[in-house]
């Protein structure tokens, strides 16, 4: 698969170790985690002000998404017809390579030399910036976080907070270098000033870019519109100033009506940033009309499959409900121990642990479905009730069914299960294990180095409290 070459998901273990040993990253993550969690708590609590209940609302949202996915082809046809009628063009892309080819073609035909981009994770799937640069077209990321990540030559580490892994000092170093000014000492009080500095630079790009590229949070079938949810206003610049606007989004992002959009919008910002509504919500339909002050002369929708259609009707269809809020990663103990880059592909956290193997190949991301404690903090906050741990578990089963688990693990499990099926043997072996552990602990009540499970004792002791198993003690007690 073409995507495989870009994915680093097979190196999760090694990258996880690196991330844990990076104190700068750890400081950034530990600062961000309580903010994300706290903001969502407040956002969800605020539903009560409108007499809304989270569980009811998420059932409604889940139903909207399920209904749409059940007839996805129909809704896409309706969208295409309505969008075309309003003056937009609708193109279809099978994979990321086709997305890049279509965008580069449009850019070349219109003599585009610079593209202003608002945030699009799908453009990351397609490696669009690389393709544009190779074609001699300069892509400029205009979401502040994406701008920082682009300056650093990195990829986003979070789907809604792309630069969450960066500290203020790191951003200051990038800005000083890129903006050609001396380095200063910055604290969080300087963030507004740094944002202003970036805005001044980006303003020039908005005015000079001939093409704008955005994603879409939703496509609305009944109106042929794209809904765009942003906080910085860059989305409006990108979609109205350049003469061409290209919307790139996945085929699963469609909802039937504006009323459905309203339901989903009650949950999306609250789940993502805790806001009851984001600073900007744009509904973009067609092209600039007569009498309009601004707007693109040409609007192109590129609707992308890239593995999505394969999930329809599969054990993983629930995943297509995802509205990309980021709540699953914001509540994931694994994500907040590592940050997003450890996951190795576009999407991190629990949703990434499901999507990466599905979109890039099960055999190219063997660790990811196991990179979960099974705590279900993700599933319980998901605004469209995706059972993320169940999907990760199904991927584990598929690894087993396809013979992708290591032979040592299979053998060990088989031996253990065989013994567990024979109680007398199991009892006897358990009594030997307990004596062995007790001998290792040597009266200290703990084992500090255990050859059988070195990964356990690398970070913690193994408490040992008894020299007999429960069943030994219980049988002894029963005897008169």
């Amino acid at each position: 698969m073409a995507l495989g070459k870009h994915s680093q998901a097979m190196h999760f273990q090694a990258r996880a170790g690196e991330k844990i040993r990076n104190p700068v990253l750890q400081a950034a993550l530990q600062k961000a985690r309580p903010l994300f969690v706290g903001k969502r708590v407040k956002g969800i609590a605020s539903l009560a002000e409108d007499a809304l209940d989270f569980e009811q609302l998420r059932t409604a949202a889940k139903n909207i998404r399920n209904r749409t996915l059940a007839d996805l082809d129909v809704w896409l046809d309706i969208f295409e017809a309505r969008a075309t009628a309003s003056g937009a063009e609708v193109l279809w892309a099978r994979d990321g390579a086709e997305v890049s080819r279509l965008v580069v073609d449009i850019a070349r035909r219109h003599g585009v030399t610079k593209v202003a981009k608002s945030k699009s994770m799908l453009s990351e799937e397609a490696h669009l910036n690389e393709a544009l640069a190779e074609a001699g077209i300069r892509p400029v990321e205009t979401d502040l976080g994406e701008y920082i990540v682009q300056l650093a030559g990195e990829t986003p580490s979070h789907i809604i907070a792309p630069a969450v892994h960066k500290t203020i000092a790191e951003v200051e170093a990038l800005f000083a270098k890129e903006h050609g000014r001396p380095l200063e000492t910055r604290t969080s009080a300087d963030i507004p000033a740094m944002a202003r500095e970036a805005r001044a630079v980006l303003r020039q790009h908005f005015l000079s870019a001939e093409m704008g590229i955005s994603g879409a949070n939703f496509l609305i079938a009944e109106t042929g519109s794209a809904a765009l949810v942003t906080n910085e206003g860059n989305g409006r610049m990108v979609t109205t100033l350049p003469k061409i606007h290209v919307v790139i989004t996945g085929i699963e992002k469609i909802v039937p009506t504006l009323e459905d959009l309203a339901t989903l919008m009650r949950l999306l910002p609250r789940s993502a940033t805790g806001q009851s509504i984001s600073n900007y919500v744009s509904l973009l339909t067609g092209t600039k009309r007569k009498g309009d002050q601004d707007g693109p002369e040409k609007t192109v929708f590129i609707l992308v499959d890239n593995g999505r259609a394969n999930l329809l009707g599969s054990d993983y269809q629930d995943m297509l409900r995802c509205i990309r809020c980021g709540a699953c990663m914001n509540h994931c103990p694994v994500y907040f121990s590592l940050g997003g880059h450890a996951y190795g592909w576009v999407y991190p956290g629990p949703m990434g642990s499901v999507l990466t193997p599905l979109y890039t190949g099960l055999e190219n991301a063997l660790d990811l479905p196991h990179a979960s404690t099974g705590c279900n903090q993700c599933g319980s906050v998901c605004p469209v009730a995706i059972p993320l741990p169940d999907l990760m578990h199904r991927l584990r089963e598929e690894q087993h069914e396809r013979g992708l688990r290591p032979w040592s693990e299979r053998l060990a499990l088989k031996a253990w299960a065989w013994i567990a099926g024979k109680p007398a043997l199991y009892r006897w072996l358990a009594s030997r294990v307990v004596r062995y552990l007790n001998w290792l602990a040597d009266g200290s009540g703990r084992i500090q180095i255990l050859g059988l499970a070195p990964a356990w004792t690398a970070g913690r002791d193994l408490p040992v409290s008894s020299s007999r198993t429960f069943h030994e003690l219980y049988s002894a007690r029963k005897k008169p």
Binding site: Q13, A16, G17, I20, P333, V334, S337, L338, P369, H370, A371, S372, T373, G374, C375, N376, Q377, G379, S380, H393, L395, R396, E397, E398, H400, R405, E409, R410, L413, K414, W416, A417, I419, A420, G421, P423, Y426, A430, V433, V434, R446, Q448, P454, A455, W456, A458, G459, R460, D461, L462, P463, V464, S465, S466, R468, T469, F470, H471, L473, Y474
Partner: protein, 243 residues
């Protein structure tokens, strides 16, 4: 009422005192308690690794052993979740076994939820002089909805003070095989849990799942904390000298 105590493989191996504490509490609650002899492991390790055939074998074995009782009680949210929520799913394609799995699931309870919600008599009559903080284990909390029950029971213990830690619902990083497959990630997660526990100043951290408790105790000791005690909720409720 004939009641089966399923002690769990972890309690059998690592901390028999939890099994005896559960036994005492259940007897005090008015049940006739049996410890079925053939019990070994519920099969969760096979299930969570994705080995469905082995998980099914062990599920059937447990069903045969446990289905003859009015209730099955387990001092673990994790193993209870396996029997209540996973067994019926594992055996859903087999009508006969599926029905037996569902029948067993409906009669199976985690210890604190049984004592608080089902048991005839209140079994708690212990003293405990100290400040306790409670760690909600993931499967108990999010799989079975256990939150109120252990706290309700703990507050009946004379002299016990409960001080909640921030993020008491956060995972401790154990996750069974996860703690061994991704030992360094697990350590990073349990470190945050240890910070939260230490910040309460509590004398004891209490929980309902031995996996979490061994993980937390192991990390606290490795960090040099020799004083914070780590106890299963059954041990506190049953009082000292349960074994």
């Amino acid at each position: 009422m004939r009641l089966a105590l399923y002690v769990t493989c972890l309690v059998d191996l690592m901390r028999p005192s939890v099994g005896f504490a559960a036994l005492r509490l259940l007897e005090a609650s008015g049940a006739e308690v049996f410890v079925p002899e053939g019990q070994t492991c519920c099969g969760q390790p096979a299930w969570s690794t994705g080995n469905r055939p082995l998980a099914i074998d062990l599920a059937k074995k447990a069903i045969v052993e446990l289905e003859g009782y009015d209730h099955v009680v387990i001092p673990s949210g994790s193993c209870t979740d396996q029997i209540r929520n996973i067994y019926p799913r594992l055996l859903a394609d087999d009508p006969a076994w599926g029905a037996r799995a569902s029948a067993l699931a409906a009669r199976t309870f985690e210890l604190t939820s049984f004592l608080a919600d089902v048991a005839k008599n209140d079994p708690v009559a212990s003293d405990f002089n100290g400040c306790v903080t409670y760690h909600d284990s993931c499967k108990g909390l999010r799989g079975l909805g256990i939150k109120r029950q252990p706290r309700e029971l703990l507050l009946k213990v004379r002299g016990l003070r409960l001080k909640e830690m921030p993020d008491c619902e956060e995972c401790c990083g154990f996750g069974g095989a996860f703690a061994v497959k991704f030992g360094d990630v697990s350590t990073q997660i349990v470190d945050r849990k240890c910070d939260a526990i230490t910040a309460t100043g509590a004398d004891v951290v209490v929980g309902g799942d031995l996996g979490c408790l061994i993980n937390i105790e192991g990390r606290l000791r490795r960090r040099g904390d020799e004083s914070t005690r780590v106890l299963h909720v059954a041990e506190v409720l049953a009082g000292g000298g349960a074994c």
